[in-house]
């Protein structure tokens, strides 16, 4: 029966075109409609930190090297994942990720909570040649990260672009992006105080790659990896899943 109708539709180009639009609209609807409820489903955290320029530079290198094609940054609400990686990812945690790096495939482990799990030295040696620390690793070596000086020229424009898409970078942060990037990997520099003032006490200021003389791409990548999962504590607090809308509070009380 259904095929008789299909036969008729097929032979009428206008009806066929309308039918195609209708069916493909379902796909669009399923992707777009949840955005209308984004205020109800995304937790808010007014204390969430933004990426520092050095971390943002590391993130750019993470994208450049294609790390996301083997590593996800998304712990799903499944028991085995929570057991292994820690609390499941909340939407707010990637609020300032443009683009998001949730990934869709794990050849290596998930990195959403890798921050401060291992030491800077381990990350540096591991990125330089994974086999040095994990003999059975199949990850490629990224030895040029230690050789390349970090290009800080583009950071100012980078922060500006981020602020245009909604990341709350202040003008002072944008203007001093280059200096802040260098300062974060140079603990003895006089610019550290300003960096801390702009980005908060929790900012890690260290020689990430073990070489205090230079700021390399390795500094940036390690700084980025060490902040993953640490921009907000929302996922670690059991009860503090806050929502903006009153409706959810009401439904939570009702249930």
């Amino acid at each position: 029966m259904i095929f008789t109708i299909h036969n008729k539709i097929e032979r009428n180009s206008i009806v066929l075109a309308l039918g195609i639009i209708l069916v493909s609209a379902v796909g669009g609807l399923v992707e777009i409609a949840p955005l209308f409820t984004i205020d109800d489903t995304v937790e808010s955290d007014p204390d969430m930190r933004v990426y520092t320029p050095l971390e943002l530079a590391g993130r750019n290198i993470y994208i450049r090297e294609g790390c996301y094609s083997c590593h996800s940054q998304m712990i799903r609400t499944l028991k085995d994942e929570v057991d292994r990686y820690g609390p499941y990812s909340r939407a707010v945690e990637s609020q300032y990720d443009h683009p998001m790096l949730w990934g869709s495939k794990r050849t290596g482990p998930d990195l959403a909570r890798i921050g401060e799990k291992y030491s800077d030295l381990w990350h540096t040696r591991h990125l330089n040649n994974p086999r040095d620390v994990v003999p059975q690793s199949i990850m490629p070596a990224y030895s040029w990260l230690l050789k390349n000086d970090l290009n800080t020229r583009d950071l100012r424009g980078n922060l500006k672009a981020m602020s245009r898409v909604g990341v709350p970078y202040k003008d002072s942060m944008i203007n001093l992006a280059n200096r802040d990037a260098i300062a974060q990997a140079s603990p003895s520099s006089g610019d550290v105080a300003g960096l801390i003032e702009r980005y908060g006490q929790a900012t890690s200021v260290r020689v990430f790659d073990g070489d205090p003389q230079r700021v390399t791409e390795m500094d940036a990548v390690v700084a980025y990896l060490q902040i993953l999962g640490r921009l907000t504590e929302v996922a670690h607090s059991d009860t503090s899943v806050k929502f903006d809308s009153k409706e959810n509070v009401a439904s939570a009380e009702g249930s």
Binding site: T77, K79, V82, Y118, D120, L121, V133, Q136
Partner: protein, 296 residues
């Protein structure tokens, strides 16, 4: 217009299209496909009714089962915790001697230890605890902070030179870089330290006695007069044959010149107390000769 007719060979209708005498069959969709298509459709219909499915403006259809992935996970974890409390409680409450004397609890340690170790510790210390340069070997009898399980448990909780407020702190100063010792004195020291280590064949007589003097002035405070180290401050034993940062002349010179500051992260936020206690016992069991006496 085309006229469809029944094909005498297959029994199916034709579409009525004809090209130079060749007619196009209008073979119906196989029944099995129809059955599966209908079943899938019915499943989807049922799913829409039972589970959260359709977006409706600023809300969505919740489904009659009221299923929620987060609540489901919370229930799973709760169930899991209550089932595991049978052995987690004694692991947390009993002291280490009692646990080591209980074969059932040690069976749990033997079973969960390797998975926990592999996922959290093996990255630096190696799958079998062999360690590597900069990362201490765990399956031997050399312990930087001592082999008492409570000490290991504490190290696991707060880390070494970590970001934890109560972190253990162990820093080897950079005597050369700070200008305290000249290159010549460092050279003498390296020779002396190698002479007291069982990893080198040089005897103390062969080493420069100036090195011994410098040793008692600058090194003995932490590493002890006889070089056996001090586990209270995490100063390594220099007389055995194990080196964290290498015992060859180049490595030792670098250590004395630039200092060393290892970093072990704190695990108290990442691993539960029971997991840390399991790891403590597992790490101790990596070297069988250390615990043969205690093991059931």
């Amino acid at each position: 217009m085309s006229v469809s007719e029944r094909d005498k060979y297959t029994g199916h209708m034709t579409t009525g299209h004809e090209w130079n005498g060749i007619k196009e069959l209008n073979t119906p969709v196989p029944l099995v496909l129809l059955v599966f298509l209908s079943a899938a459709f019915l499943f989807a219909l049922g799913y829409w009714i039972l589970m959260p499915a359709w977006p409706l403006g600023d809300t969505y259809t919740k489904g009659t089962l009221g299923f929620d992935q987060r609540q489901h996970l919370a229930k799973q974890i709760e169930k899991n915790d209550s089932e595991q409390s049978r052995w987690i409680d004694p692991l947390v409450q009993l002291d280490f001697d009692a646990i080591q004397g209980n074969s059932q609890l040690m069976a749990i340690v033997d079973e969960s230890g390797p998975a926990l170790f592999e996922d959290n510790c093996a990255m630096c210390h190696g799958s079998d605890g062999d360690g590597g340069r900069y990362f201490p070997k765990l399956n031997d009898t050399s312990w930087l902070w001592g082999s008492d399980p409570n000490v290991i448990l504490q190290t696991l909780a707060v880390g070494i030179n970590s970001t934890h407020p109560d972190t253990r702190i162990a820093i080897m100063p950079g005597f050369g870089a700070a200008g305290v010792l000249s290159a010549e004195v460092i050279e003498n020291l390296v020779a002396y330290v190698q002479s007291i280590s069982s990893s080198h064949n040089t005897s103390i007589e062969q080493a420069n006695m100036a090195g011994k003097e410098a040793y008692s002035m600058y090194c003995a405070g932490c590493h002890a007069n006889d070089g056996t180290g001090n586990s209270v401050v995490g100063a390594p034993n220099l007389t055995d044959d194990y080196w964290v940062y290498g015992g060859d002349t180049t490595a030792l010179t670098a250590t004395l010149t630039h200092g060393r500051k290892g970093h072990m992260p704190a695990w108290d936020k990442r691993l539960s107390l029971s997991e840390r206690r399991i790891l403590t016992l597992y790490v101790l069991s990596l070297n069988q000769s250390v615990v043969t006496g205690d093991k059931p």
